[in-house]
């Protein structure tokens, strides 16, 4: 172990010597450890180089393949090693209860003021009034339609219930999305609707549904072959279809839509809390968010930074579906209690069974 440390010191020393006079990099020689999905923005050249230029620190990545694994890594030695992570906000509450996270100090984030305000209203970001998750990017589950079947873009979820579209609807096979969509359609609180009314609405919708899609492959295949003409679909995937030239359109209907956020959190006992804050501030900066979204190959979702969203080119905006009015009409999905998960699961199962 001695040699690498000596080597690291040598490299750091060399960097210090090589640094131009007057450059005052606050975290020179330090390393930040990020826990994230592989290929999800934070490990791009842009992210790594930009952060090093600003702070002098290098970034190390640890990858996970889902929320469960993320927590497992933290449980088994990640705490004290990992600085920042990117869980779905629906996990934040449980992670706080498990003592995995430390609060984020918004005053240390210069770019906090640029986050679109409605994203900061999500309950799951807070525990006991303290902020734990910082919104980074977002997406929505909006109305996706075949532009040949609908020359006039539909503006309401009502189109799914329209008898004219019997057997032409692809509906997402997800209990929480189904309940939220039905609640929005009924004008109810998507986080606490009258479930009997929701059930009736979904049973009515079932008559029109051609297929309950389970993966983006399913939806793409169904709408491209013409087996369906309309449905609810993820913004990013719909944007890809549009970018590829398929006759597809995407809107957030007037009633609103369910949406999701990716949020940065700081792990308890992070080796450097200040460096972690600096990382998050860079991640939500206009420069990074704009740069990531503009790269057509990067597959970025919509930026939570409102300034970046406003500066997007038309092509990028269409690809990531980052329309301001979309963001305003979103209801961000929140964590469900186990009881709610059971009830929602059974509700959608009963609807799908047709029994």
């Amino acid at each position: 172990m001695k040699a690498p440390i000596a080597l690291a010191g040598l490299v750091a020393g060399a960097a210090l010597l090589a640094a131009p006079a007057g450059a005052d990099l606050p975290f020179e020689g330090q390393t930040l450890t990020v826990l994230n999905w592989n290929g999800y923005g934070s490990d791009t050249e842009l992210a790594l180089r930009g952060f090093e230029e600003r702070t002098g620190a290098t970034v190390r990545h640890v990858y996970h393949s889902g929320g469960e694994e993320l927590r497992q890594i933290l449980r088994s030695g990640g705490i004290g090693q990992i600085d920042v992570a990117l869980p779905n906000p629906t996990y934040i509450l449980q992670m706080v209860e498990e003592g995995m996270l430390q609060p984020v100090d918004p005053d240390l984030l210069d770019n906090m003021s640029k986050i679109a305000p409605n994203f900061l209203e999500v309950d799951d970001l807070y525990s006991d009034g303290a902020l734990y998750g910082v919104p980074w990017v977002w997406g929505s589950t909006g109305l996706t339609y075949n532009t040949e079947a609908f020359p006039e873009p539909p503006t309401s979820w009502l189109v799914l219930w329209d008898e004219a579209n019997r057997g032409r609807v692809a509906f997402m096979d997800s209990p929480i999305e189904a309940v939220m969509l039905a609640a929005l359609h009924l004008g109810q609180d998507p986080h606490d609707p009258d479930l009997d009314a929701v059930r009736s609405a979904l049973e009515e919708l079932h008559e029109n549904v051609q297929t309950y899609w389970g993966s983006s492959d399913d939806f793409n295949r169904a709408i491209i072959t013409g087996a369906v003409t309309v449905g609810n679909y993820w913004s990013g995937n719909a944007g890809s279809l549009i970018a590829e030239g398929h006759p597809v359109g995407y809107v957030i209907p007037d009633e609103g839509a369910a949406g999701w956020l990716s949020t940065w959190v700081i792990v308890r006992d992070a080796p450097s809390s200040d460096l972690a804050h600096a990382w998050i501030d860079w991640m939500i900066s206009t420069e990074f968010q704009l740069g990531w979204a503009e790269d057509p190959e990067a597959g970025a979702p919509a930026p939570a930074n409102a300034e970046a969203a406003a500066l997007l080119s038309d092509a990028a905006r269409g690809r990531v579906q980052a329309y301001g009015e979309h963001a305003e009409r979103l209801s961000i999905m929140q964590s469900l209690t186990p009881e709610q998960q059971q009830v929602y699961t059974d509700l959608l199962a009963e609807v799908k069974s047709g029994l």
């Binding site: 087996a227 059971q342 929602y344 699961t345 199962a349 799908k352």
Partner: protein, 310 residues
């Protein structure tokens, strides 16, 4: 089947030294059977008594009560799955019998191996791949519908995709090779002279099938029934992708209880129910077969013939 050769019931009996090798040889299989069958089934039974979600709830039997409380949903889905399983099995039998017969009696051995290989090779890939292949095949505007449209039998935009017919078709395709194999093996065991003998005794084509081929392939048919009906009745992937809005099966609900509601106890209760009903049905089929052809389901040599000399 284990045949007991011991004395009276309840009589404890010292093992003769000669039996040790036999027990030693049986030990790995017995251990495997216990580990792979008895333990999982016992765990399923135990889980099913707990209260979900998770498997740390109290023993209440609540999940059984929930099931019994909604006979329309759970019973309805069970009937749907069984009907689909039976339908696929019946189609497999109808297609596999003549196929296996032709392979055994009318195809040269070399061609036969090639055909059997062609039949099996697609099934060595992932099931998901086969399902999506079927999707493309029957999709509106796909090859099958285009061909039917060219023959004037259908509109090319019509499709059976997203109907239970598509699921039935897929399950039949999925399990056909197993039924062909089971029946082929059974047909191969019929001596040609046995059929000649029946013929010389006045049996017409149908009578030879009814009195000779059917009963003599019955054990193979029963094997085929087990390996086709059981997975088909418990399937959900095929229905989920090809069944569209009609694709909800009993198996779908089991899977969702685990993946979405984290309710292993409910899933266990459902799985036990499915298992019990399938075993019951297989038992009934076996009984019917034994009724119809008492000699056909006999284990050969069960009465002590065979073995050395004679």
């Amino acid at each position: 089947m284990i045949r007991s050769r011991t004395g009276g019931p309840g009589v404890a009996r010292a093992l003769r030294p000669a039996e040790w090798p036999r027990l030693a040889l049986m030990a790995p299989a017995t251990a495997l059977l216990i580990a792979m069958v008895a333990v999982p089934v016992a765990m399923l039974a135990w889980f099913s008594l707990l209260s979900g979600p998770g498997v740390s709830g109290a023993v209440t039997g609540r999940e059984w009560a929930v099931m019994l409380d909604r006979p329309q949903l759970y019973g309805g889905l069970l009937l749907r799955s069984l009907a689909l399983g039976l339908g696929a099995t019946a189609l497999c039998i109808l297609i596999a019998w003549p196929t296996a017969w032709a392979l055994s009696r009318h195809v040269a051995p070399r061609t036969r191996s090639a055909i059997l290989a062609l039949l099996i090779i697609p099934h060595l890939t992932s099931a998901l791949l086969l399902i999506y292949a079927m999707y493309v095949l029957i999709a509106p505007g796909g090859p099958m519908m285009t061909a039917l449209a060219a023959l004037g039998l259908a509109e090319s935009r019509d499709t059976i995709l997203f109907t239970r017919w598509a699921v039935l078709l897929m399950l039949t395709y999925m399990y056909l090779p197993f039924m062909v194999m089971a029946l082929f093996a059974a047909i191969e065991r019929i001596e040609p002279t046995v059929l000649d003998a029946a013929r010389s005794l006045g049996a017409s084509g149908w009578a030879r099938f009814r009195h000779i081929v059917l009963p003599m392939t019955l054990p193979g048919l029963m094997t085929g029934l087990v390996i086709v009906f059981t997975p088909a009745a418990g399937s959900f992937l095929e229905a989920r992708i090809l069944g569209g809005a009609n694709g909800m099966m009993f198996g779908t609900l089991i899977a969702e209880q685990i993946s979405r509601a984290n309710n292993q106890p409910r899933a266990a209760a459902m799985a036990i129910t499915l298992l019990a009903v399938i075993l019951l049905l297989l038992g009934v089929f076996r009984l019917l077969a034994m009724r119809a052809f008492p000699g056909a389901m006999r284990r050969p040599g069960a009465h002590g013939s065979g073995g050395w000399g004679g």
